[in-house]
Symmetry: C2
Subunit: 176 residues, 2 copies
DNA sequence: GAAATTGGGACAGTCATGTTGACTTATCTG
DNA sequence: CAGATAAGTCAACATGACTGTCCCAATTTC
């Protein structure tokens, strides 16, 4: 990455006014640690907003995650939800028993495959998920607004880069 | 959303070539959900890399977080660590008992205030933390490299925006 | 100097959420 | 029909958070 300058004796830096330029190779330990720490604090800050609502309902974050993905992809099967959450059938089972018992989630038999149980939110489940989403949205919308449109694109790009290549299709499929 | 057409017969859109322009106000629900989901999957993908090392040591993620912050700010007090982790004294107590019992962390009496116990890593603790950090670094460095320098700046900006204003000083103080 | 506050440790109990393993039922597919 | 798959269930267990209480030593305050 050396720029050959033959004629001029002292090669002047290209941008002398930038005091702390980011390393071109992104390899400095401090930059890695900054990312790790911001990811930790940013993530926990965002989800903390919904905790009060959940606690008032006697639910936990595991219930929230299930509600979120069922809202996002209504009609998904139990197996698909297990894959998204990355937990075992037994762990999800307890959460799903809670949610169906409270009539926040309902199941119906799959059409193509009658072994499947397709999940969707009841009206009250959708109302609760909307309240929870509003909390996350408040936090995320403020961050987007403060950082600006270009920053948001970078935010998405780095986060997608953190996901192992074989998992990216799943994330993309969830969206769009 | 009807467009009144009075004088000019067909008002041409301003940017007819942009197929899916990002909303200027960053308020479209899909953009919020994309951020929520990428943050969730990106965060879990990054930390998952260290789990195998931890499990081999019989330690958990709580131990990792404590090791990380002690490595980052050697000599910090128990109270400061509690503040960073956002957990109670009792919860941290068990983790710290484990780590000191395994001689990964050591405590010494505070100099200015002798009630304090200042935490630091032993050589073997530093070695373990370095191995764990290498795992996180591998993931983060790849994401930085794929996304590019400008994206990293945006990544940082959005994440800092997620942190409530009264908590940002603490995050900044951890760095630099 | 006495009293109140603070930093830290310890004990006991509880809850939420994850795990493994084994078994059952219904259904689909070769 | 035989085997594989989707889902549910029971039991046991591990982790990591919580609350509440009590204690000690050191510091700060009056």
């Amino acid at each position: 990455m050396t720029v050959p300058i033959s004629a001029s004796p002292v090669p002047a830096p290209v941008s002398p006014l930038k005091v702390t330029p980011a390393s071109p190779l992104f390899l400095r330990e401090d930059e890695i640690r900054r990312g790790i720490e911001l990811l930790y604090f940013g993530y926990t800050s965002m989800i903390r907003g919904a905790d009060a609502i959940l606690e008032a309902q006697g639910l936990g974050r595991a219930h929230h995650r299930a509600l979120y993905f069922i809202a996002r992809r209504p009609g998904l099967s139990v197996g698909e939800l297990i894959g998204l959450l990355g937990i075992t059938k037994q762990s999800l089972g307890r959460v799903l028993t809670d949610l169906t018992g409270r009539e926040l989630v309902e199941q119906r038999v799959g059409v193509a495959d009658r072994r499947q149980r397709l999940l969707s939110l009841t009206p009250s489940g959708a109302a609760l998920e909307a309240r929870l989403f509003t909390e996350l949205e408040r936090s995320m919308a403020r961050a987007y607004g403060e950082a600006g449109q270009q920053a948001v694109t970078g935010f998405w790009a780095v986060l997608m880069g953190l996901v192992p290549p074989d998992g990216r299709a799943q994330v993309e499929a969830l969206q769009g």
